[in-house]
Amino acid sequence: MKKKVLIIEDDFTIQTQLKTLLSGNGYEVFAVTDFSQTIQQLKEFAPHLVILDIKLPGNDGFEICSEIRGFSDIPIVFVTSSNTDMDELNSIMLGGDAFITKPYNIAILLAKIAALLKKAYLSPQTEIFTWKGVALHLESSLIEYKGQKTELTKNELKILYYLFKNAGKICSRNDIVDFLWDNQLYVDDNALSVNITRIRDKLAAIGLTDFIKTKHRQGYTL
């Protein structure tokens, strides 16, 4: 089941773009448009998580937050452009779960949302991806094919994770490197090639050839 995220943000562009971004990452998204009815709309949509701006027309984010806390414990992520300590302190005191300042790093925002959802709802998600009979075990950092397993390094695991997540699509080299950087693995273009070669060698050792295909000038695909 898709997790539902509610966006309470008055800037129209950010609102729509955030909607696109989160929908693209597998969430069901709803954005509040009538700020006099925020709480009603929230109750109707019954989200799993709320993204809340502080500066809003009418009631500000703090007021909305304490109102929500009156009847619900759903995770609330404060998003604001003012990064003063007072605001951060206020948001924590009122029961906010995270405080992110604009312009936020998109990867960090997504990671925070995922982490909060996981913590709040303890989804028994098995951290295994499968594609064409190949299984990627995230927890144990292994890849398995027809009963044969091989261990992966951190870089290799993250690269494969990205390819598995976007299985069937072409992943450009740049996007893969971006993703690795978002995970604090600062590899460059050359290192990526080296890592891909190593993964292919490892896969060949468990009897899997031509699993990662190179699309000339475009990137890689599974």
């Binding site: 971004l21 452009s81 300590d85 604009k102 936020y104 998109i106 960090i108 978002d182 460059d188 273009d189």
Partner: protein, 337 residues
């Protein structure tokens, strides 16, 4: 108080006394007094006069020197009328009144200027916060419509964000005490965040990043350190050489944790090195084509001073190492233990 000037000021008194002496001498001689008696009386008069003048001079000098000392010790000298005794002499009281008036108008002016400054600072803060909304919107737009073109825009947005942050922190740097909270932070988190803030710029310049052993806990304000690191990384990107490398490392000594940021860029000439933290100093690198404002490192130094972080730069021909040294004092260790 100079003695000569005092003597000059007392000239009328001396002259009147001299005329008096002359008149008395003439009168005494006319009334058949012996010349010795006249001379004796005149000598006594002169002696008393000199004694009077001297004692007045020294007592005045003592009083005025005390005032001078007091003024010199005062940090805000215009506040002297608040702490000095109200003088007893009539003319001095007038001067005292004048000083009071001057003080009042000075205080009013200062209040006015402070108010204006505060308003301006608030305006800058508000402006920065407002401009962050469109920056965020553009970032999201680019992120949702990825292309080589959006990548370049994202890099430029990072630049814009750095400049706006600079304005914000410049405005705030005067009153840091109002806006920082010291917490235990992990050095690697703040380094990762700073790299993330400059991701597209770093990628654009093909920077190789290496990180070693920065899993250290320090007590400081994360926001400020992140800003300082951003400025330093900004310089690394600006003055990079071919095949640029950026290295983060940390060393721990008894009472300090030193985070060093080194690059293999064009470096800083030895002659410029002592002045790079000065405001507006652009140096040789700044003059040779690279657009430099001389604000970034100045702000870093200023913030570091306020946060109690030691900031040093080292450069030898090629490459620069900037070190941030965080104090781990007994108090902190005591709390930890």
């Amino acid at each position: 108080m100079s003695g000569k000037q005092y003597l000059k000021n007392q000239l009328p008194v001396i002259l009147i006394n001299l005329v008096g002496m002359l008149a008395l001498a003439l009168f005494l001689i006319a009334s058949d007094n012996n010349i010795q008696t006249v001379l004796f009386i005149l000598a006594v008069w002169s002696f008393v006069l000199a004694l009077c003048l001297l004692s007045f001079y020294f007592s005045r000098k003592k009083y005025l020197n005390k005032l001078l000392d007091m003024t010199e010790q005062l940090e805000e000298r215009y506040l002297l009328p608040e702490i000095m005794q109200v003088p007893e002499q009539a003319d001095e009281q007038v001067f005292y009144q004048i000083m009071k008036m001057a003080e009042k108008s000075m205080l009013e002016r200062i209040g006015e200027v402070q108010g204006e400054r505060k308003e301006y600072k608030e305006y800058i803060e508000q402006w920065v916060h407002e401009v962050k909304t469109p920056i965020t919107a553009m970032k999201l737009l680019c992120e949702n419509n990825r292309s080589p073109f959006s990548r370049d825009i994202l890099a430029e947005l990072e630049n814009i964000n750095q400049y706006t942050e600079q304005a914000l922190y410049y405005a705030r740097s005067e009153h840091t005490e109002k806006d920082y909270s010291v917490r235990e932070i992990n050095l690697c988190d703040v380094v990762y965040n700073a790299i993330a803030d400059n991701k597209y710029l770093l990628r654009q310049s093909n920077m190789t990043i290496t990180i070693s052993d920065i899993e250290n806990r320090v007590y400081t304000d994360e926001k400020w350190v992140r800003f300082i690191l951003n400025q330093i990384i900004g310089n690394v990107i600006k003055y990079h050489a071919e095949q640029p490398i950026l290295h983060f490392g940390a060393t721990k000594t008894n009472d300090r944790i030193v985070l060093s940021i080194s690059d293999n860029g064009i470096g800083i000439p030895e002659s410029d090195l002592p002045r790079i933290f000065e405001k507006g100093f652009t140096g040789q690198n700044g003059r040779t084509g690279k657009n430099s404002t001389g604000i970034g490192l100045y702000l870093c130094k200023r913030l570091c001073d306020k946060l109690g972080i030691g900031l040093t730069a080292y450069s030898e021909n090629k490459g620069t190492t900037i070190s941030l040294s965080f104090q781990v004092n007994d108090f902190v260790i005591g709390v930890q233990g």
